[in-house]
């Protein structure tokens, strides 16, 4: 091998080794975490923008339905009472209710008399009553709240 070629080869090897060392020295370098955070935020924005139209419409309909439910009159909160419920005559012939709920209502004295249960004595023109309504929507029992 000519001396010139030998020198060139030696130089190339020396430089190549040094460049390899320089590359290794910086191999762990990378962008700061804030770069990745910003890029992920952009991804999320894009994912939100690309949701199908029916998802947006579904979300809007669900919101409207929830608003309607909230606007419906809700039964007054029932305070616990020690009085027991009296089976109401409507109960006759109906299957026993396994589940149900108490709904508190106000009734006039005249109407209360027609329920067939003892009416408490009071000066108020109206009476408060708890109705036990079965899962089928039929009233099973009643009690007057003093």
């Amino acid at each position: 091998m000519m001396p010139e070629q030998s020198r060139e080869r030696k130089r190339a090897v020396s430089l190549s080794d040094a460049l390899r060392a320089l590359a290794d020295d910086a191999s762990a370098l990378g962008p700061s975490p804030s770069v990745e955070a910003a890029l992920r935020e952009e991804l999320r924005l894009r994912a939100r923008r690309r949701r199908p139209v029916w998802v947006a419409w579904g979300a809007a309909l669900a919101t409207c339905a929830a608003a309607l439910v909230l606007m419906l009159p809700r039964p007054t909160a029932v305070r616990p009472t020690s009085q027991s419920l009296t089976p109401w005559y409507y109960n006759q012939g109906l299957p026993p209710a396994r589940q149900g709920g108490i709904v508190r209502v106000k009734v006039s004295k005249s109407m209360a008399g027609s329920f067939g249960v003892p009416v408490p004595v009071t000066n108020s023109p109206d009476l408060t009553a708890d109705l036990f309504i079965g899962e089928d929507g039929m009233t099973r029992a009643i009690r007057f709240v003093k």
Partner: protein, 196 residues
């Protein structure tokens, strides 16, 4: 995916370009898993290229963010037939870097290619850390178009085809520019060693 050996610069080989196209299309729909793969594989080379070209970590961060933001937003078209995703990203990084450096990216060689190369080895007798420090300084003094050729071909281990795509020039130009760049780097190393 075929990766280079751990501990070296890692990047996807050109023969999986079709998978890269799938990853990019998923990424553009907001798929975080696809993003994680692409970002993990390519953030290092893009950042290091920008850092070596600008010499500023903040600029390197900005360039890296801009390059991946453009990829997510679909600015520009990645064509797997033209080269690997890494080459595409480095090409985008190069445009960002040159915009910030305010230097024309198509700068031609202002230095004679026939300059005699010094015989003495400026790296001989130096410890590894000293070699790395000297080389880093010498590399920073090279004109950008030489520096980037060494950064891509030698430090980030791109093949000539990928380097040519990133640099926007023919493969033959990459080869000749790399040769000139190494000669010039050797001269600079010698000059710096003489001064020290």
């Amino acid at each position: 995916m075929e990766l280079l050996a751990p501990g070296t610069a890692t990047h996807i080989r050109a023969n999986v370009n079709h998978d890269e196209a799938t990853l990019v299309s998923r990424l553009r729909t907001g798929d975080e898993a696809a993003f994680a793969v692409v970002f993990q594989l390519h953030k290092g080379p893009v950042y290091r290229y920008a850092l070596r070209m600008s010499g500023c970590p903040q600029t390197a961060d900005d360039v890296t963010q801009e390059v991946f933001l453009a990829l997510i937003r679909g600015v520009g078209t990645f064509d797997p037939a033209r080269g690997s995703l890494l080459a595409y990203l480095l090409g985008a990084a190069r445009r960002q870097v040159y915009r910030r450096l305010d230097t024309p990216a198509s700068l031609e060689d202002p230095i004679s290619t026939d300059d005699p190369v010094a015989d003495s080895d400026p790296l001989a007798g130096l410890l590894r850390e000293e070699q790395v420090a000297l080389l880093r300084q010498a590399l920073a003094t090279l004109p950008p178009h030489y520096r980037e050729t060494i950064v891509l071909c030698d430090l980030e281990e791109l093949d000539y085809a990928d380097a040519a795509q990133a640099l926007g020039c023919p493969i033959g130009t990459v080869r000749s520019r790399l040769n000139r760049a190494k000669n010039l780097l050797w001269e600079r190393l010698n000059a710096m060693r003489c001064l020290s």
